[in-house]
């Protein structure tokens, strides 16, 4: 199986190089790349279902003294699944997009696959850097030069900082060289283990978008072309989470200290709240989706934190439930976020803009895309029949059963984490409703939006396919958890086979809470069908008229779409939230400009808010860098005589030091 994946890897890089050489074959090459991803998906799914044993492979070439080893087991298999789904869909959607950096997309996928298949520290680092560099170049090759440059620079700064921190973590934890098998034998202990934990969380956490290092994500992900944003949010953040799971769960040994899960719990719950709140205030579709990624990553982090704590307390049942929740959410979010970003790309392409207050009423012009978007948003907002609800349900169940873990601090922390997570969930639902409502429903807010028409058939089929996949996993969560069972077996010893059947998933084999996904969906469908039949049996009259609007007069004839400005826009929908939640978190202020009497310009209603992370974390770092650069500049500006004086001083100092050393 590893050889198949190696062939896929080579093919991807080959396609990248081929496309760079022959740009005119772009469309064909990207289709083949998509097919290769699909083949990879099938291969990995087979591997997971048949639960084939783990394999390792030492590549013949590779850097001197370190060597490149690849390893495939259940855990990397599951994440490969998500990466292949997201990349395959993105590549298929990118077929006819005029992308300057197109040859880099297969390289980006290859980078992610290398990271997942890494069998030793260097390959992991190499994959991590390849995927960062490829996506950075893709950001630069797209969009307005100024915005792309700023986003690209911020993105690459965080990527390099993250990669170097991860390198430091692996070196501090496991020393130099040696593959994962050797590392597993000698996990870090004591102070090194604590340093290892925080460095891994800082390095891979910043890449995944865990607070406090998540400030860059809502700026960088939207700047990339739509298919690449889909892969960055859908797949790359999951690869970063894979690195956290692999290093903290698998390689850090079977019994980590009990408090290891706490940072993940805190960062995850904060991420859920901040990400969801921010999604309500963003005005660009892709920024809303990027912020919602932070929320979902937060939820996954909470689940991972719980699993880690349960593993430390040797409760395999709870650990496997929490980890199952995390993996199901990874799969669900991977599919739905890819779908939503591709929809955002289609909307941007058809309606000419990504800004929410220039869209509206797109459901009339792009019905299929709208329906798929509603399905995707429903899952991201964790509404019952969808996969999002199944994983959130499992996360809350593991949260509710967690207080048995004992330590008093944990008992205090778990309710607060649950509180923040529930708040985040509510905000996510509001954000998704706002996104769908303002983009697809109501009346077009700009004439250009009325010019939109449905995407071409293959893309629509892609959307329907993704929405269907999300629905299938929603109705049959057991299927996804079966795919995850090899990973659960490796990390927690038991999988959810007893508890996750075909119809739904429960917390214990018998008794305990049980979420029957299929029966509930059946009841819903039955009721809807019954009422629908009732409606058809004796059809009543139905006609179209002007919207009642509580008796307001008809809009003047020169407004083709009626008075669109009275509709609730993006800013006004989140105005009550802004007043209460936005002020403390984001320094939210209303910036209204009322024209003076006699002025002809229209009144403007705007909102101004700032990301706390960028103000209180990034800005001080930049100030420190400038201060240091100014100090260093003094040395550059030294005149010749002062330079010589410095050299003589160095000589004298060295002589004195040597003299002192020789005395002792």
């Amino acid at each position: 199986m590893l050889l198949v994946l190696l062939a896929i890897l080579a093919a991807l890089v080959g396609i990248g190089v081929a496309e760079a050489a022959l740009p005119q074959l772009g469309r064909l090459l990207r289709t083949t790349a998509a097919l290769i991803c699909a083949a990879g998906l099938v291969a990995v799914a087979l591997d997971l279902v048949l639960a084939l044993p783990a394999e390792t492979l030492q590549l013949p070439f590779g850097p001197p003294g370190v060597g490149l080893t690849l390893a495939l087991d259940g855990l990397s298999g599951f994440f490969l699944l998500v990466v292949f789904i997201s990349s395959g869909a993105a590549l298929f959607a990118a077929r006819d997009e005029p992308l300057a950096g197109a040859p880099l997309i297969p390289v980006f996928v290859a980078g992610m696959v290398i990271t997942l298949l890494a069998g030793d520290g260097f390959t992991l680092f190499l994959g991590f850097e390849t995927m960062s560099a490829a996506s950075w170049l893709l950001i630069l090759s797209h969009g307005l030069p100024l915005a792309a440059a700023k986003a690209g620079r911020l993105y690459m700064t965080m990527a390099i900082a993250g990669a170097l921190t991860l390198l430091g973590a692996m070196a501090v934890g496991f020393g130099v060289g040696g593959d994962f098998a050797a590392w597993r034998a000698a996990p870090p202990t004591g102070l090194r283990a604590a340093a290892f934990l925080f460095l891994v969380l800082a390095g891979a956490g910043s890449k995944a978008g865990l607070p406090p290092l998540h400030g860059w994500l809502p700026i960088a992900h939207p700047a990339a072309p739509a298919p690449v944003s889909a892969m960055m949010s859908g797949a790359m953040t999951k690869v970063a989470l894979y690195v956290i799971v692999r290093l903290l769960f698998d390689l850090a040994g079977p019994n980590p200290p009990l408090w290891w899960g706490v940072p993940l719990l805190i960062m995850g719950s904060l991420g859920a709240l901040l990400g969801a709140a921010r999604a309500n205030f963003e005005t660009d579709i892709k920024a809303v989706l990027a912020s919602s990624t932070i929320e979902n990553i937060g939820v996954i982090a909470v689940a991972l934190g719980l699993a880690l704590t349960a593993r430390a307390a040797h409760l395999p049942l709870l650990a496997s439930l929490a980890l199952g929740a995390a993996l199901l959410h990874v799969l669900g979010h991977g599919i739905n976020k890819t779908l939503m970003f591709l929809v955002a790309g289609a909307v941007d392409h058809q309606a000419g803009s990504r800004r929410l207050d220039r869209l509206g009423g797109l459901i009339h012009f792009m019905p299929v895309t709208a329906v798929c978007a509603i399905a995707g948003a429903a899952s991201l907002a964790a509404l019952p029949p969808m996969v999002g609800f199944a994983s959130i349900w499992m996360v809350f169940q593991s949260l509710l059963t967690a207080p048995r873990l004992g330590s008093f601090v944990l008992q205090m922390l778990i309710p607060i984490v649950a509180l923040l997570l529930a708040g985040g969930g509510a905000l996510a639902l509001s954000a998704m409703l706002r996104l769908i409502g303002v983009t697809f429903l109501g009346r077009p807010r700009a004439v250009r939006t009325a010019g939109a028409h449905e995407t071409r058939l293959p893309i629509s089929l892609l959307f329907v396919g993704l929405a269907a996949a999300s629905a299938v996993f929603g109705l049959l969560p057991g299927l996804a958890l079966r795919l995850a069972s090899p990973a659960l077996q490796i990390l927690t010893g038991t999988d959810l086979s007893g508890r996750a059947g075909w119809f739904g998933v429960g917390t214990q084999a018998t008794g305990g809470a049980y979420y029957g996904a299929l029966p509930i969906a059946a009841i819903l469908a039955a009721i809807v069908a019954a009422v629908w039949l009732l409606l058809r049996r004796h059809p009543a009259l139905s006609r179209r008229a002007r919207a009642w609007d509580c008796g307001y007069a008809a809009p003047p004839p020169f407004l083709p779409f009626g008075d669109t400005t009275t509709q609730y826009g993006a800013a006004s929908l989140s105005e009550p939230l802004g007043r209460t939640l936005g002020v403390p978190l984001f320094d939210w202020q209303m910036a209204t400009s009322i024209p003076e009497p006699g002025e002809t310009r229209p009144a403007r209603f705007g909102v101004v808010w700032y990301d706390p992370v960028l103000r209180f974390l990034h800005a001080p770092v930049l100030r420190a860098r400038d201060w240091l650069a100014d100090r260093a500049e003094l040395i550059q500006r030294l005149t010749i005589r002062r330079t010589l004086a410095m050299m003589v001083a160095a000589l004298v100092a060295l002589l004195v030091i040597v003299a002192i050393l020789e005395q002792s």
């Binding site: 070439f61 590779g62 850097p63 001197p64 003294g65 370190v66 490149l68 980078g111 520290g121 260097f122 680092f125 190499l126 850097e129 390849t130 560099a133 950075w136 630069l140 030069p145 440059a149 690209g152 620079r153 690459m156 700064t157 390099i160 900082a161 170097l164 921190t165 390198l167 430091g168 692996m170 070196a171 501090v172 020393g175 130099v176 060289g177 340093a195 860098r625 400038d626 240091l628 650069a629 100014d630 260093a632 500049e633 040395i635 550059q636 030294l638 010749i640 330079t643 010589l644 410095m646 050299m647 160095a650 000589l651 060295l654 002589l655 040597v658 050393l661 020789e662």
Partner: protein, 483 residues
Amino acid sequence: MNLGPMLSLAWFVALVPLLTACVLGFIRHPGTASLVNQAAAVLAFVLALLLPFSTDPGGLWLAPDDLGIHFAILTSFIGVSAALMSGPYIRIELETGRMTPTRARAYHALFQAFLGFLLLGLLADNAGLTWIAIEAATLSCVLVVGLAGTPRAVEASWRFFIVCGVGIALALFGTIVLYLAASAAVGTGFAAMSWRAITAAAPRCNGLVLNLAFVFLLLGYGTKAALAPLHAWMPGAHAEGPTPVSAVLSGSLLNVAICVILRTRHILASNPMAISPNDALIALGLASVLLGGISLWRRADAKRFFAFSTMEQSGLAVFGFGIGATGAALLHLTLHTLAKAALYQCLGHAAQRKGGQSFTEIKGLIASDRTLGLSLAASIIAVAALPPFGMIVSLFLILSFTAAHTPWLAVPLLIGIGAGAVALIHRLQTLCLGPPTPSKFPPVAALTLLPALVLLGLTILLGFAMPPPVAAWFARIATELTP
């Protein structure tokens, strides 16, 4: 003085460029001069390639060790690429009138002189001869830098000369004291001057004298290697003057100086009485990385910017030697020399096309000159140690070694490297992307960029798919260096 001992292979490697330099002094026509220049460089490289295979390549005062041979091959290879670049480069300089035919002639002569003295410095076994070779190489480089004649070039060459003059004086004094220490153990005369003899007799020498020698040799050759407090001359020297010599070749001057420092370190390390030399190397290396990485943020001139990047990366290599990651540091030095040579070639062509070397003048290269822009971007990515180029391997090894053994040292190192890499990324975006600035010459022909692309290809090959004999060669040098 019969010439028998002078006929050895090592002498040929050094003498070919030197003799060509004299010949080039008389060739009027710039076209033939650059052809002769290229031929001589290729010949020197081929001869250098034969060095590892010949049994006793030595000769009078020349008995190169593996380290010397390794860097001789590397320097002569860089010399070939610089020579291939100087052909078209000088032609354009002549067209713009920035260089008169007489100066072009002087340029080619000094090019070969510089290359010859560098090779002599590497292959010399006699400490005095090494000193003379490096001093002569510095002088020829100073003259080349001074050729430009602009006020900034004069200031740079004056600073270059004074700082290097003082450095070389300290180095001479160090050599004299080394001779004093060795003569006590080995006896006076030439025996006490040969690196091999001194290294062999190191344990028997007087520790205190060796310490004194080490201080002066470290500071003297440290100035040549542009380590932190002694680096004042290097940015100006790299930035002014014609690129093929002042930037591409002068990178190798740093390598030669580092070789000598490594030999001194070997001598000191094998003498129990002397202080351990590694702490000094670690301190200077770390200072170079931090100062280099941070002052990258205040540069307005492209060539000076990359000069600081050279200082940072060679500082990291010296740091690597200091903490004991010898193999990785050697690989890092080699890969960085290749990558930086490629980068400077592209930058040289870009600066010529845009008629200036500040960041405001060179913008949007990919838009105006696609092949040049892409190759400059690739070389900046190579220098920033990002995949797919090989420097990521050596960077990973050195940083992991540091983090594993002395974590508290790894923190400032990671910050310095991170700051440097981000500055490179930032400059890549301004140089290669965005709207282009007007360029005075037609786009570069792909052929002229061939040397740069070959260099980049070599970094990938050496990084990821190093052939076994080369790997064995690196391992042998590494074991030879660690006492």
